[in-house]
Structure formats: C-alpha cells, structure tokens
C-alpha cells in the first residue's frame, strides 16, 4: 500500500470548470427569485399527524424530517463502525479509523480538563458534537431547502409547470390573482434552524450538568447556589458569597439561553445568507458554502466543548479551596 500518489491533470477539474460556466450561463438566462424566509419550521403535511388533548395538534414539520435523517445517518455510521470492529482487525481502516481518531481527540480533550470524570462526561461531549455536526452539514446536501411541496401564498411567485401534476418550479414574477402565487415548502430544512432542537439540546446539556454535579459532590453541590457556609464566620463577605451564589442560579438559566441562541443564530444566519446570496449573486454562493461548512463544524465543537467545560466545573467542589487556607 506504500504508493505515492502523483498529482495528475485529471478530468475532474474540467468538470468543475464546466459546472461553473454552466452556473454563470444559467444565472444570466434564468431569473432568480427571492425565497420566502420564515423562522418557524414549515409544515410538510397538510393535516395534523395526531392530536393530544392538552398539548394540541402535532404536525410533520420539515425539521422533523431532517432529524429523522440525522438519526439514520448517525445510526448508519455506528453500525458500519460496529461491523468493522467486529471483524477483529487491530488497526481499523476507513470509516472506523476516522471515527476512532475523532473520538480519541474528543476523549483526550475531555480527560485533560475533567480528569477522572472523563468517562462520565465524554458521552455527552461526543454525542452532542456528532449530532450537531451532522445536522449542520446537512445544509451542504443538494435538495435540502430547495425541493419540497408547493403551497399557495399571498406573496408567492408564479409557477412554471415542467411535468403537469408532478413537477413544477417557482419562477420570477408577481402573481396577478389570488391563488396563483406559490412558495416552496422544503421537505428537509436544516435541523439547527429550528429553535426547538437547539433549546432541547441546551436544556439536556444544562440539566445533565446539574446531575453530574450531584453525582460528583452529593448534596454539597448545592453550596454553589446557597452558600451559607461563611455567613457566620465572616459576616460581611459571607453575605456577599450568599448573593453571588444566588446569581449562580440565574447564570444556569442564562446558559440555556446562550446555548440555544448561539447555535440557532449561527446556522440560521448562515442559511439566510445563502438564500439571499443565491438570489442575488449565485456564483458567490459556492464560496459562502465553504464558510458555512467551517462554521457548522466550529459550532458543533463549541457546543460540545462548552458542555464538557461546564460539566467538569460542576465536578470541582466549591468548598475545596477553603481547606487549603
């Protein structure tokens, strides 16, 4: 296998050049439309999937489809790695080797900051990072955010029917009559542009931080929030410690908010930027895709790493420093 790869002038670069030229030609001859931007995820199904008495109707939204896709991709990766490891090779090749390298980096990072609690904290870091990176990079797939069902809308664009009753595209122009304007509701929309997903992930992360804090320190973990230990011995500074502890409670809630809006904001802003660039300067969109690829991976690592850092902080006791004095 020791074969040095020679750089050859292959055919691939000409294909890419051809695609770029085709993009410019299409850009000139086919007028672009500005897509309809909506913060809340759209409903793909017309009727509700099922209804619960108190909570109301449940619809099949396009981010839910993306979540199922993400789960399938992750389970597929897991099964492929399991199959490779079951064969019993000492040195894993291909996908299993790549996953081993990735998880080793994550584990070493966790161990350097959490010490003996690394085995407990590592699953959260790895799961959150892998989930978020797969759901963010789904933005790069062709068809995501662009193929979907047509829906009538008052501020829509007219239709260009390709195959009657089966396929149509939305083209530029304004609809004269009501019921002639359509917008595309995509089947798959990037999962991280749904506030429900990021908020759920943030709540899981912060709640498990508390659980790990209790596991590490027992009931002494509550001293971080209700610090009555120094109230008697040092009256003035003890009161300040108590107030600082109460502020820690607020900071736990603000962690949820900042987790939620960091991931949502980065990815939603990226996809809006891609939509608007696609409607104004399509050839710049491919460059922006590269940037979004980078942002998607960075945000996944940031989400996981912050979870890890908060968890390893929760395992360190608050009262431990006072024994040194």
């Amino acid at each position: 296998m020791e074969k040095t790869r020679k750089w050859r002038y292959g055919i691939n670069r000409w294909i890419i050049l051809l695609l770029l030229i085709a993009l410019v030609v299409i850009m000139v001859f086919v007028p672009r439309i500005q897509p309809h931007i909506q913060v809340a995820p759209e409903n793909v199904s017309h009727g509700p999937l099922f209804s619960l008495p108190v909570l109301g109707d449940f619809y099949l939204t396009n981010t839910l489809v993306a979540m199922v896709l993400m789960d399938i991709i992750l389970l597929g990766i897991g099964y492929a790695v399991y199959r490779t490891i079951k064969k019993g090779d000492l040195v894993p090749h291909g996908l299993a080797g790549a996953m081993e390298a990735l998880l080793e980096v994550i584990y070493n990072l966790t161990e350097s900051s959490a010490g003996k609690w690394a085995r407990k904290i590592f699953p959260y870091f790895a799961t959150i990072s892998l989930m978020v990176v797969v759901s963010n990079l789904m933005e790069m797939l062709p068809g995501v955010d662009s193929i979907g069902v047509l829906e009538e809308s008052p501020h829509g664009n007219p239709l260009w029917v390709m195959i009657p009753g089966f396929m149509a595209a939305v083209v530029q122009g304004s609809a004269e009559h009501l019921g002639e304007g359509y917008v595309v509701v995509p089947y798959v929309r990037v999962l991280s542009t749904d506030l429900n997903f990021t908020a759920a992930l943030a709540v899981v992360s912060v709640a498990m931080t508390q659980v790990i804090g209790f596991q590490a320190q027992g009931w002494r973990y509550l001293i971080k929030f209700f610090n009555f230990t120094t109230l008697i011995s040092k009256p003035v500074f003890g009161l300040i410690d108590l107030l600082v502890g109460l502020l820690e409670i607020i900071s736990e809630f603000s962690k949820v908010l900042s987790f939620t809006f960091r991931l949502f904001g980065n990815i939603f802003a990226g996809s809006v930027l891609l939509f608007l660039l696609g409607s104004m300067l399509p050839f710049l969109q491919s460059g922006m895709m590269l940037f979004e690829f980078f942002i998607g991976m960075i945000q996944a690592v940031v989400f996981g790493m912050l979870t890890m850092i908060f968890m390893s902080q929760a395992t360190h006791g608050h009262g431990a420093e006072e024994h040194h004095e």
Binding site: I37, V39, F261, R262, G265, N266, A269, I298, Q299, V302
Partner: protein, 78 residues
Amino acid sequence: MTGDIVEAAKFIGAGLSMIGALGGGVGIGLSVQGALEGMARNPDAYGTLLTNMILGIAFSEAIAIYCLVIAFLMLFVL
C-alpha cells in the same frame, strides 16, 4: 398609513439592533491580536494558540450573532 409606519419601524429597529455587532468585532480583533502576539513570541505554540483563538472567536462572534437573530426576528417574524 399606520401599517407603513410599523413597516418602517421594523427596518429601523433591525438596523439599530445590528449596532451590537460592534462589540463582537472589537472582541474578535482583540483575541486575534493576543493570539498573534503569542505566536510571534513563541512559534512552537502555534497549534494550540490557533485552536483556542478560533474557539474565542466563535464565542465573541456569538454575541454579534445574537444581534443578528434579533434583527431577523424583527424582519421576518414581527
């Protein structure tokens, strides 16, 4: 008439909320400055400094992104 005023106020508010991106810019500049000075003094620490710099940039960028979220909410939701 009132609809037009509300529409105009939306755009003005979205523009005003983006002033907050100033802080993110200053923060990114400061963190890159610190990392570059460290790299110039100690080129061996290039790798770790780069990783931590990108992490810090992601955190300060998040502040600017919050402003962007507010601007988007004003433009597309309200």
